[in-house]
């Protein structure tokens, strides 16, 4: 289906769930960054849900729980989880692009850019170099 933003929306659900699990293991600047990043995912989720609803498209419901790629048990695993979640979101929004047009495509590109920014911030925060990638969303 053209202009189907649901893969991106589903990844936003997963990211919000994951940040909720990771956040309690973080402190200081890392916790502040996690709070801001989670809010950005929530804002994007709300915007996409509204966009879909306004066009009469089905809005998938969030699941009560998600199987995360890493189970956060300490700060290191929490950081690992967040990095993976941001990369999964980037891949999801990238996957939306080919079948999108006009406004839906703009939403997807802006979401891809936002996740690229967030992923790069986490890499800088954790000392991973290079912190940017030339082609965000590629796996």
């Amino acid at each position: 289906m053209a202009d189907d933003l649901t893969p991106g929306l589903i990844c936003e659900y997963e990211a919000i769930f994951g940040y909720g699990d990771a956040g309690p293991h973080l402190t200081g600047a890392e916790r502040d960054l996690a709070v801001r990043a989670e809010q950005a995912h929530r804002d994007r989720r709300d915007a996409v849900m509204t966009w879909l609803a306004e066009r009469g498209q089905e809005v998938p419901a969030a699941q009560p729980a998600y199987t995360l790629p890493v189970e956060p048990v300490d700060a290191a695993s929490a950081r690992d989880l967040i990095g993976r979640l941001e990369e999964r979101c980037a891949a999801a929004w990238r996957s939306v692009l080919p079948d999108s047009t006009e406004e839906a495509r703009r939403i997807a590109v802006e979401a891809l850019a936002a996740t690229a920014i967030s992923a790069a911030r986490w890499r800088r925060m954790t000392g991973v170099t290079p912190s940017t990638v030339a082609f965000p969303g590629r796996t």
Partner: protein, 151 residues
């Protein structure tokens, strides 16, 4: 070398040759080895911007602007974009025009922001075959704005 081993090599060589000859006659191999060339002109401005930003970052590094590792990282991203775009345009990556403004970082931020806006609009207007690459480039340039903003 035992005769039987030599015969085995010969048989395998014949089979390889037959396989390659068969594949080269079909559309799959030909399609994979033939680059898609953009005839719309949509990619050329984005390519020129990538080359200009690459040149500008190199000039800033050469001028001793500081933050060398970060500027090199950004330059390398633009180089990767220029290489990918040049393949689709059917040309070599251009040299680019270097502009080192004052203040250096502030100018670079403005250039990256303009580059993001350009790639975003190009992506929204692009043919489907170029949408993903242009979206990736836009996202990368957005991340550069953020990186430079923290310097």
């Amino acid at each position: 070398m035992p005769h039987s081993q030599l015969s085995g090599h010969t048989r395998r060589a014949v089979l390889w040759g037959a396989g390659i000859a068969t594949l080269s006659g079909c559309g799959l191999v030909r399609t994979d080895s033939t680059p898609i060339i953009d005839n719309t002109g949509a990619l050329l401005p984005v390519l020129r911007t990538a080359a200009d930003q690459m040149a500008g970052l190199q000039a800033a590094i050469d001028a001793g602007a500081g933050h060398e590792a970060t500027l090199e990282m950004l330059r390398d991203d633009h180089a990767a974009h220029a290489e990918a775009l040049a393949k689709l345009v059917g040309t070599d990556p251009p040299a680019g025009d270097a502009v080192v403004g004052d203040p250096v970082v502030g100018t670079l931020i403005e250039q990256e922001q303009a580059g993001y806006d350009q790639a975003l609009e190009a992506c929204v207007a692009a043919l489907p075959e170029y949408v993903v690459l242009l979206g990736e480039i836009a996202a990368c340039r957005a991340s550069h704005v953020d990186v430079l903003g923290e310097l």
